[in-house]
Symmetry: C2
C-alpha cells in the first residue's frame, strides 16, 4: 500500500484539518466529537445534516455551504460516525426549525443517526437514500444502498431548505428526489482501506465487478472485462429496468445524468462513458437536460465509475439549478 | 490494462464528444481538425488559446469559458496537437485583437504552436509556462517543464483579457504570473498510456519518483517511499529553493497554494498534503491567501500529486479572484 499518509490513526484529522484550512472561508472544523459546519451559521431554516464513513470525498464535507448542507459528520474510513457527532453537529447548527438528516442506507449509519435522532431535544426527520439498483440487501445494508445519487438529494433538499420550507416539506421533497434516482456502478480495481493495508477484494486484470458498492462490497456479479460501450449498456439497462419495475415513467421525461468516478478513473474515460450513456438514454426517450461528470462520490482509490439518472420535474430541476456555494459544488454565486 | 475505452483510436473523439455534450451550454466541439471553443464567441478581446496532449484533463478543455480560455486544441494522449488545429481555432475565435497562445514548455508543443503562429494572418504572442522546478531540460523539454501552474496562468490572463487589455499587456502579465509560480510533483505509481497498454515506467511498492513529470517522465530521483510529511517537506523545500535561487522574495509574500492530484490519488490524501504544505509555507513566512485542492492537471491514472505555489501581488490576486465560468472552474457567476 502506497498512500500519502503519516500514521493511519491520524489520517482523518489531518485530512479534515487540511480541508478546513483550504476552505476556511466556507467551513469550520470541530473536533472531539468531529463534525464540520458552515463558517457562518444559517438562520431561520431547517438544518440539513449528512455524514457517513470517510473515503467518499467530496461527499459529504465538500457539500457544506449555502444551498446544500449545514453540517457533515465524518466517520473513520468506511466506518459510520457515532451519535455524539450528530448530536453535537445538530446542536450547533439547529436554527429553531428542526433538523433533517440525510443518510445513506447502510445499517451502521442508519442505526447511529437513529440513536442521535432519539436523543435530540428538538424535532428531526431523516431521508434515507437508496439509489443503488445493483442489489437488494447487501454486505452492509438491509434494502438498497445509498450511493452517488445522495449528493443530488443533498443539493435539491438544501436548496428547498434555503427558501424557509419547513421540516416536513424538506423530508417529503427529499424522499421524492431519492425515489426519482437510480444508480449503478462498476469497478475495475479494488480500493485499499488504509487501516487494512491491502486491497479489499481480489480482481483479475481480465475482470470487472458489475454493480459494485462504494466500499468495494460485491455487486451483482464478476464479469469479463470488455469495451466501454458494452459496460455502459449494461449499467443503463439496469437503471431503466429499475425505473420500469418501480412503475416510474422514465420515457418522455427530462433527467439529470451524473457520471461519477470512484476516484481512480481519469476524467477522459468518464466523459467517454457519459457520451455513450447519454445516447443510450436518448434512445429510451429520455431528454438529458442536466449533466454532471466527475468524482463526486468516491471509493478511496478504486478505478471505476457509476451512472446515476435522476428524473426531473419542474420542482427538482429548479432546486438543482438554484445557487450553491460549497467547496465541491458552486454555481450562480 | 483495464480502461473504459472502446478502441484506442476512438478514445479522443469519443471523450471529447462526451465532454462537449455534457457542457453544451458552455463549449462547442469542432472536428477535423479538432478544437474546442466557447459556445458563444467573445467579442473585442484578445483570444486566449491553449492546448497540448490529452490525458491531463481538465487541462485544457475544462478551462474554456468566460474569464479563461477562448479555445483549446487537444492532441492525442500525451502528444502535441498539430498546427492546423491551432490555426483553425485561432481563425474561429479571433476577435480583432490578436491571439495569445498559452503553451506548456514541451518541445513538440512549442514547435507546433510556433508553426501555427507563423502561419497566422493576424497578430499573436505566446506565453510559455515553465513552473516545474524538478529538472532543467528533460525527456521532452529544453528548459523547465510546464505543469499544474499552467492553469493559474490561464485563469489570471483569461481574466485580464476580459477587461479588454491588449495583446502585449496579456503577454506581459502571463509571463509575470508564470515567473511567480513554482511547482514540483511526486508519483507513487506510473500512468498507463492507452496506446501503449502498459505502465510507462516500473516502480516498486517501496519507491516513489520525486519530481516526476506529468507524462510519467523521470524526475530528480527514485527514492524510498516514506510518510507523507517527509515527502511534502521535500517538495516544499524544492519550491522554496527555486524562489530563492531566482531571487524572488517568497518570505513575507501572500501566495496561492495549489495541491494538485495526478488523478489516481484520493481527495482525502490531497487534503492531508495541503495540511502539511500550508504549515510549512507558513513557517517560511508565507501567507497562504488562496487555496485550490483537487485534480486540475492530471497524468492519466497516475497516483501522485504536485504542490504549486504562486506568489501573489494585488494584480494577480484580483485576476485570480475575478469571475470565471468554465466546465472545471466556476465562481462568482
Amino acid at each position: 500500500m502506497k498512500k500519502f499518509i503519516n500514521h493511519v490513526d491520524d489520517l482523518l484529522v489531518e485530512s479534515l484539518s487540511g480541508f478546513a484550512a483550504a476552505h476556511s472561508d466556507l467551513v469550520q472544523l470541530h473536533l472531539e466529537p468531529h463534525y464540520l459546519t458552515r463558517k457562518h451559521k444559517a438562520l431561520d431554516k431547517v438544518a440539513i445534516i449528512s455524514g457517513g464513513g470517510s473515503g467518499h470525498e467530496p461527499l459529504h464535507s465538500g457539500y457544506i455551504g449555502y444551498g446544500m448542507l449545514d453540517a457533515a459528520c465524518p466517520g473513520h474510513v468506511f466506518t459510520s460516525p457515532t451519535p455524539d457527532q450528530m448530536l453535537a453537529a445538530a446542536e450547533y447548527v439547529h436554527a429553531g426549525k428542526g433538523v433533517l438528516f440525510i443518510v445513506k442506507n447502510y445499517s451502521g449509519d442508519v442505526m447511529n443517526f437513529e440513536m442521535a435522532a432519539e436523543m435530540l431535544p428538538f424535532e428531526s426527520a431523516t431521508v434515507l437514500t437508496s439509489d443503488d439498483v445493483a442489489v437488494n440487501n447487501s454486505t452492509y445494508t438491509t434494502g438498497r444502498r445509498g450511493v452517488a445519487g445522495t449528493m443530488i438529494v443533498e443539493k435539491c433538499v438544501g436548496s428547498l431548505a434555503e427558501t424557509g420550507a419547513n421540516l416536513q416539506a424538506c423530508k417529503t421533497f427529499g424522499d421524492k428526489v431519492n425515489s426519482n434516482i437510480a444508480s449503478m456502478g462498476v469497478a475495475l480495481t479494488s480500493c485499499t482501506v488504509p487501516a487494512a493495508g491491502r486491497p479489499t477484494f481480489d480482481i483479475d486484470h481480465t475482470e470487472l465487478e458489475m454493480g459494485v458498492g462504494i466500499h468495494g462490497e460485491p455487486g451483482r456479479r464478476r464479469e469479463a472485462m470488455r469495451e466501454a460501450d458494452a459496460i455502459v449498456k449494461d449499467l443503463v439497462a439496469a437503471i431503466m429496468e429499475d425505473f420500469n419495475m418501480r412503475g416510474l415513467h422514465a420515457e418522455g421525461s427530462e433527467a439529470l445524468l451524473l457520471v461519477n468516478g470512484f476516484a481512480g478513473t481519469p476524467l477522459m474515460e468518464l466523459y467517454l462513458i457519459y457520451n455513450t450513456a447519454a445516447k443510450l438514454f436518448a434512445k429510451h426517450g429520455i431528454t438529458v437536460a442536466r449533466s454532471l461528470v466527475g468524482n463526486y462520490t468516491t471509493a478511496l482509490d478504486m478505478a471505476g465509475a457509476s451512472i446515476t439518472l435522476c428524473l426531473l420535474d419542474e420542482e427538482i430541476k429548479q432546486h438543482w439549478d438554484n445557487a450553491v456555494h460549497t467547496p465541491a459544488l458552486r454555481w450562480k454565486i
